[in-house]
């Protein structure tokens, strides 16, 4: 162990119940951060607190539950301004002079409006519906909807739709797996999500890392992403997916590009991304062929041209100050769906200062975008997909009531695979085999298990959504979309009430 002088105190304290520890060595063997150590001479297992990141692998793996990980208290004088975290960050930068990197979504105490919004339920005046006995439609179609539908009758008086419907995605449940690239997460994690999505009739997203050859078979449940780095983008890739998503921004790091460190670029990634092994995979901050809405339209249509107008094209942006105007531009540029990623959206690696301080909460963004598109009369031209920190089915249904068509879940999906939100994704040594490319770690995630668990989550949420809809007396999720009357605010003040477009509880 390195013995260096550092001002940074430990983050976690490893408590081991010595009366329960049977010296099996599982914790030592499993911790890739080397936070456990076996002293053979004394037959003792020791913890190295400094190394602990609190990802709970040892806690889960210990056969006798002998390990507890505790948050280390601030050893310094308490100070409201200078919290332990701020001091730690400062010391870290004083030591290294670097940009602080983080993984996962922002843990900052920006208000979570979901928690202050409550749902309606039917009582007496209109009956609630029992989803166990009556049909309850949660199927959702994503894509541009025509302004009107023209129907003609042929000679035999059979109706026929004359209007040309642009390609649509059919979702059995309005929840998709968010873009996480092969690179940021392991191939086994991708496989888990892809399998779960295809079994649940929904979609997963490749992220910007291309599509590994093993994943082409899940193509019809795949959304392929085109980002500024254009990694792994070629015609076959575009055609392999069910839809193409142009990534302009990401909620966790609006305005900056991605950066996959060279040590994560192993053989498989290098094949998939078509770049040399060990080389940094840098996605520039902007797309260098998009400097205007007009340029965006050009990219959208070049993709449509390349895919023979068979695939819907999505555009993903992060939720920022004038998101409504931007979204309007995107819809007018010809996107079939707009994806908005809020400030709590996750990431494999982002500068901490950006993640925690740039962007706006997704709740507000959905509300303003939906409102603006309606006002401009173009809401039907594109679907609205929300992303960024969805934690449960209530968040999903509230987002839909605010105006979203569907949501992306990223962190929640990873948690089904074992993620404990330790936020060390950028290190590339994820103990759960998710955000890593190290062979010994990636094999800890068996896609058979991962897919089952991810699928279970979607199943559970789907049932819950049906229950909530039933309680509201609604039998189709389409009737809830943008139906803000079913929402009430508790403890939200003007002007946010008017931005969200919902009434306070009791009103």
């Amino acid at each position: 162990m390195k013995f260096t002088f550092s001002l940074k105190p430990e983050n976690f304290i490893i408590e081991r119940d010595d009366e329960r520890c049977i010296r099996c060595g599982a914790c030592v063997q499993q911790c890739a951060y080397n936070a456990h150590y076996y002293l053979e001479e004394k037959d003792k297992v020791l913890g190295i607190n400094h190394n602990c990141v609190g990802d709970g692998r040892c806690v889960a793996i210990c056969p006798t539950n002998a390990i507890r990980i505790k948050q280390a208290e601030n050893p310094y004088r308490p100070n409201y301004n200078w919290t332990k975290e701020r001091m730690m960050d400062l010391y870290e930068q004083a030591e290294n002079g670097t940009v602080l990197l983080v993984g996962m979504g922002a843990p900052t105490p920006h208000p979570v409006y979901w928690d202050k919004i409550v749902l309606n339920a039917s009582q007496v005046t209109n009956p609630s519906i029992d989803p166990l006995r009556e049909p309850m439609e949660v199927k959702t179609f994503l894509g541009s909807k025509p302004d009107k539908i023209e129907v003609v009758f042929d000679k035999n008086h059979k109706p026929e739709i004359k209007t040309r419907i642009t390609p649509q995605l059919e979702l059995e449940v309005p929840i998709m797996f968010a873009a996480m690239s092969f690179g940021a997460i392991s191939l086994n994690a991708c496989k888990s999500l892809a399998k779960a999505a295809s079994e649940m009739g929904t979609f997963w997203n490749t992220g910007e890392g291309g599509l590994h050859k093993d994943l082409y078979k899940y193509g019809k449940n795949t959304i392929v992403q085109v980002a500024s780095g254009r990694f792994g983008v070629h015609v076959d890739y575009l055609k392999a997916g069910a839809a193409v998503e142009i990534k302009i921004g990401q909620g966790a790091k609006p305005g900056i590009g991605g950066h996959l460190p060279g040590e994560k670029v192993n053989h498989e990634i290098s094949v998939t991304r078509a770049m040399p092994e060990g080389s940094d995979a840098i996605s520039p901050a902007p797309h260098h062929d998009i400097y205007s809405i007009e340029d965006l339209r050009q990219l959208i249509y070049s993709i449509k041209e390349a895919t023979d107008y068979e695939k819907p094209v999505f555009v993903k942006i992060s939720a920022v100050h004038n998101v409504a105007a931007i979204a309007s531009g995107i819809v007018r540029a010809g996107a079939d769906a707009v994806v908005i990623d809020g400030i709590r959206g996750g990431t494999g690696a982002a500068p901490k200062i950006i993640r925690d301080n740039v962007g706006i909460p997704i709740e507000l963004a959905i509300a303003v975008v939906d409102e603006r598109l309606r006002k401009e009369g173009i809401r039907n031209h594109a679907s609205l997909i929300a992303a960024g920190g969805f934690r449960n089915s209530a968040d999903v249904i509230k987002a839909i009531a605010l105006g979203a068509d569907a949501v992306y879940i990223g962190t929640a999906a990873l948690m089904t695979l074992g993620c404990h939100v330790c936020g060390m994704c950028y290190k590339g040594i994820c103990n759960w085999g998710i955000a890593t490319q190290r062979d010994d770690l990636t094999k800890r995630l068996n896609p058979e298990i991962g897919a089952e668990r991810a699928k279970n989550l979607l199943k559970g949420w789907k049932h819950e959504i049906q229950e909530m809809l039933g309680a509201m007396g609604i039998n189709s999720i389409g009737s809830l979309r943008g139906n803000r009357l079913n929402l009430r605010a508790v403890d939200i003040h003007e002007p946010y009430l008017s931005i969200l477009g919902i009434k306070p509880a009791g009103a």
């Binding site: 162990m1 390195k2 550092s6 940074k8 060595g25 030592v28 063997q29 890739a32 951060y33 080397n34 150590y37 076996y38 053979e40 400094h50 190394n51 990141v53 870290e92 930068q93 290294n96 670097t98 940009v99 602080l100 990197l101 500024s228 780095g229 254009r230 983008v233 070629h234 015609v235 076959d236 575009l238 460190p261 060279g262 290098s270 094949v271 991304r273 078509a274 770049m275 040399p276 060990g278 080389s279 940094d280 840098i282 520039p284 260098h288 062929d289 050009q298 249509y301 070049s302 993709i303 041209e305 390349a306 895919t307 023979d308 690696a349 500068p351 950028y426 290190k427 040594i429 010994d440």
Partner: protein, 274 residues
């Protein structure tokens, strides 16, 4: 010869591209000649047929010529606009004139030859993987940000026209972390990206360059390969495959495990099991 001529005058880009695709895919036509191009976008976009030739005989094709293209050859007898060979996967493009900005952005393989000048942000983020090595040869001069973020491939600027502009604009090769740029010049460009170093050409460089320039001269017949190759070139290659590796916090307080704890070495297996 199995060919077709399309008059593009007054054709909407979608119609033109539809016609090209129909001809190539359904009728098996190997040579498509386009007359009177009027800035129609996406010509050749997403085409995969290897031995197809698209020749733009007159007029100017629009943006994103040969985008995502994977095999065919495109020749333009005139100027081209922005985005030529954007994210191109394979094939060849010859432009007998100037081209605009963002040429060969994120290009994965294939070759682009431009007789005249190019605009800004050319060769950004070109890639490279094993024998997939994209290359661009610019006969004239290049604007700012040539080869920015370049991750692989070969960029060549020849500066064959005699204007007094610098051969490449400012910030050439900024953030470059792979590939190589050859510039035919005596002078070192100004504001060069700090991620690259300048070298003289070695034998293998000369060979690579020779084959590219020969191909260039074969198409653009007024130039002689021997003459060009006689001139002095400089080579720019990145210092590191990881230009920003140190900018972000390494978080070095986790010593990476060298040897797994329960592996043979650490535990005295003889004591434990024998």
């Amino acid at each position: 010869m199995n060919s077709i001529t399309i008059d593009a005058l007054n054709l909407y880009y979608r119609e033109l591209n539809f016609k090209i695709k129909e001809a190539v895919r359904k009728e098996g036509i190997k040579k498509v000649i386009i007359k009177n191009a009027r800035g129609q976008r996406f010509i050749g976009t997403g085409l995969k047929e290897k031995d197809v030739e698209i020749i733009i005989e007159s007029g100017v094709p629009g943006n994103d010529l040969a985008m995502f293209m994977d095999g065919p050859t495109v020749k333009v007898f005139g100027n081209a606009q922005d985005g030529v060979g954007n994210t191109m996967n394979n094939g060849k493009v010859f432009i007998h004139g100037d081209a605009g900005d963002v040429i060969c952005y994120g290009m994965r393989n294939g070759k682009i030859f431009i007789k005249g000048n190019v605009g800004y942000r050319v060769g950004i983020h070109m890639k490279e993987y094993k024998d997939m090595i994209p290359s661009i040869v610019v006969g004239g001069k290049a604007g700012d940000f040539f080869g920015e973020y370049m991750a692989g491939g070969i960029g060549v600027v020849l500066g064959l026209n005699n204007d007094d502009k610098p051969i490449v604009g400012r910030y050439c090769a900024t953030g470059m972390h792979g590939g190589v740029i050859y510039i035919r010049t005596e002078k070192i460009p100004t504001y060069l990206g700090k991620e690259v170093k300048i070298f003289e050409l070695n034998e293998s460089d000369k060979e690579k360059l020779k084959s590219l320039i020969e191909e260039f001269c074969q198409e653009f017949k007024e130039y002689k390969a021997e003459d060009i190759l006689k001139s002095r070139f400089i080579k720019l290659i990145p210092v590191s495959k990881r230009p920003y590796g140190r900018l972000y916090s390494p978080g070095n307080h986790f010593p990476l495990p060298e040897e797994n704890y329960f592996s043979n070495k650490k535990i005295d297996i003889e004591k434990k099991y024998y």
